[in-house]
């Protein structure tokens, strides 16, 4: 038998004799160096019981459930929404008929920014990149024929998260479904809006006030609801590295935790309802390592803050394949990219997954493209054998070394945020936005200099490709006019006295210390529109413009 160190030294000497490929890019997508080979030396400091543990056991590196996908597959949840509630309701029925197991609502920009469809700023945007929801009437149409006590729904909404959650609760009441029966998630992660996604309603402090009011309201009235989905996805899509995505997202999560405790909540009463949402990009092993590192850091940090309930320490996450990895050139290649990314998410142990459609660098996806995306997940689930073994890459020298490295990089960022005075001062100085923009520019340059190859973009381009036109989804501009009439009809056919009282009550809650979420549910019941609700918030707290040009 060879001695390990001798054999390793001999291997390394021999390796140096053969030149490496000149065109190789031996770095992760995030720019970290990757060695040709990883061995036991790279994980020598790891302690199995302390750093990995068993699935369903602290620190959950190997997965949050003891049985993982052998007990239950991940939820296949495709993000969908366009046009009016009617068009999106049809797409929802289509997805449910094709075996999708949860719903996920994409809203249009007026809804995301808190404007009604007939507002001047909504021109041309209504129903364009999501569904237009102005009031509880639209929410009822969105769930027409879909039992709200049976389906779990995720809503990507942040600035006006409380308003859309209120519509959901009120629409469920119309179906005879009670708050305690509702299951789902609101994204409600305002911090990453200031870092990257840019759909905010008011400034950070009042936003946090609304969020903690949601935590309080939901803990009592909608206990199965995930009141926040702390999102790295948008940070990554805006150009961050994997380490930045990991660090900023977890820093945001810890900020919500600390603010909840400051607002008087018991950590174990709301921490179990916090969930996460990560990007799953094209660098296969780095992404798998990211999910594993995220679980470990979260478990340790939550425990450090005094949580006793193991459920508080579990990092439950949704994942979505990387929109930015899709190319407008040779769009069918995106099917392959998405499949690799989806596989990484499953190997990383995600709880739910959205796979992008191949045509999304060009337009919203067609039904055919969405079906292929969903089938991709079903093939991984039922044909590849991958879900049969829990954390199958655990113990891989490379994956473990990457997991440790990402964890260490995240802690370096936590340190820097602290040095800047914490989350709010760091936001204020534009720290996150600048860090992300820097990384984004580095990546762009890597592609433009040809150091990193993207098939169909800077390598293997095909000349005739402009000619082959992909069939794309077309959103009829007439829908904007229809939706404007619908919101006007809602305003014209409601009880004006009740509306006035509910809006006054909301205004008072915002100015005083009443629960804003409870006031919003009352508004939703009497058909106050979301533009009107958000208008009250803007009036009380002012519009936030500070970071718009950073």
């Amino acid at each position: 038998m060879h001695d390990f160190s001798q054999a390793k030294a001999a291997y390394e000497k021999g390796y140096g004799k053969t030149p490496e490929r000149k065109d190789g890019c031996f770095k992760t997508l995030s720019g970290g160096d990757v060695k040709p080979l990883y061995t036991a030396d790279d994980v020598a400091k790891q302690d199995y019981a302390r750093d990995l543990g068993f699935p369903g056991e602290f620190p959950y590196t190997r997965g949050i459930h003891a049985t993982m996908y052998r007990g239950r597959l991940w939820t296949m949840r495709q993000f969908a929404g366009f046009g009016t509630a009617k068009e999106t309701n049809e797409r929802f029925h289509y997805l449910l008929e094709h075996g999708q197991t949860g719903l996920s609502v994409a809203f249009d920009f007026p809804t995301l920014m808190g404007y009604d469809s007939d507002h001047n700023r909504s021109r041309g945007e209504v129903g364009r990149c999501g569904v237009a929801i102005d009031s509880v009437d639209d929410m009822s149409d969105l769930f027409d024929g879909i039992p709200m006590d049976k389906v779990s729904t995720s809503m990507t909404i942040n600035g006006p998260a409380a308003m859309l959650f209120a519509f959901y609760i009120a629409a469920a009441e119309r179906q005879g479904v009670k708050g305690e029966q509702l299951r789902g998630t609101i994204q409600n992660d305002i911090l990453k809006e200031y870092h990257a996604q840019n759909s905010w309603l008011v400034g950070p402090e009042p936003s946090i006030r609304i969020i903690t009011d949601i935590f309080k309201y939901a803990a009592k009235n909608v206990p199965q609801w995930n009141t926040i989905s702390i999102s790295g996805y948008h940070i990554r899509e805006a150009g961050s590295t994997a380490a930045q995505e990991l660090a900023f997202t977890l820093a945001d999560g810890l900020c919500y935790l600390d603010e909840g405790v400051k607002a008087g909540l018991n950590i174990d009463d709301f921490a179990p309802r916090l969930s996460f949402f990560f990007d799953v990009h094209i660098d296969f092993f780095e992404e798998i390592a990211k999910f594993r590192a995220a679980r470990r850091i979260w478990a340790r940090e939550v425990k450090k803050r005094g949580a006793k309930d193991p459920k508080s320490m579990l990092l439950r996450t949704h994942a979505q394949t990387a929109g930015v990895s899709l190319t407008a050139q040779q769009p069918e290649n995106n099917i392959v990219r998405t499949a690799f990314e989806a596989l990484a998410a499953v190997l990383g142990g995600t709880q739910s997954l959205h796979t992008n459609s191949y045509d999304e660098a060009l337009a919203l996806p067609t039904e055919k493209a969405v079906q292929i995306a969903l089938r991709t997940q079903q093939i991984i689930a039922h044909e590849t054998g991958v879900p049969n073994v829990i954390d199958p890459l655990g113990g891989s020298y490379f994956v473990e070394a990457l997991t440790d490295r990402l964890e260490a990089e995240a802690y370096q960022y936590f340190q820097r945020i602290e040095e800047l005075g914490g989350m709010f001062p760091a936001i204020d100085t534009g720290f996150f936005r600048r860090e992300i923009a820097k990384s984004s520019f580095v990546q762009q340059k890597e592609i433009e200099t040809g150091r990193r190859k993207i098939v169909g973009v800077n390598a293997f381009e095909s000349a005739e490709e402009r000619e082959q036109q992909t069939q794309l989804l077309y959103v009829d501009p007439k829908l904007e006019e229809e939706q404007k009439k619908r919101v006007q009809k809602t305003r014209a056919t409601r009880d004006a006295l009740k509306v006035e009282a509910a809006v006054r009550n909301l205004d008072e809650a915002c100015r005083g210390d009443g629960n804003v979420m409870a006031a919003l549910v009352d508004c939703a019941r009497v058909r106050v529109t979301q533009g009107e609700m958000c208008g009250v918030c803007r009036k009380v707290w002012g519009e936030y413009r500070k970071l718009a040009a950073v």
Partner: protein, 144 residues
């Protein structure tokens, strides 16, 4: 550098990069601002969430020759014409308008017919945009 001095493009021109509408996707706009600035152009960035009126106003105030609109929300068929009409009303009908974002090929054709100089889709090399502007200004300077 392989460029000879006689062929070196004149980049002493002012360009406005704008994000009209409610769309918050600003990665592309920021990358383009930085690439054009590094190439030597004088670039002004409006920031997010601009109304067409404020974009046209900024174009006038900053006295730019080119306006680049970044739109990834699908509102391009409304916002491009809106900005162009307002530029005309401001007596700036000769300003070149170009753009970038998630825009389907059919819409690109239609917008170009309506006078938009070019639309760059995801995956575009920023050097392509620089060259496009170089060529535009070379032709414009030659007409003087």
């Amino acid at each position: 550098m392989s460029e000879t001095s006689s062929a070196a493009p004149n980049r002493r021109h002012r360009i406005l990069i704008a994000k009209p509408g409610l769309d918050g996707h600003d990665r592309g706009a920021k990358v383009v601002v930085r690439a054009l600035t590094e190439a030597g152009y004088e670039v002004i960035y409006t920031g997010l969430h601009q109304e067409p009126e404020s974009v046209a106003e900024a174009a006038l105030q900053e006295d730019v020759e080119v306006v680049g609109l970044s739109i990834l929300s699908g509102a391009h068929m409304t916002l491009f014409p809106a900005v162009m009409d307002l530029l005309k009303q401001n007596g700036m009908g000769d300003v070149l308008v170009f753009g970038g974002g998630i825009v389907p090929p059919q819409d690109i054709d239609q917008l170009k017919k309506a006078g938009v100089g070019e639309i760059f889709t995801p995956g575009t090399d920023t050097n392509v945009i620089v060259k496009f502007l170089d060529a535009y200004f070379a032709a414009k300077d030659a007409r003087k």
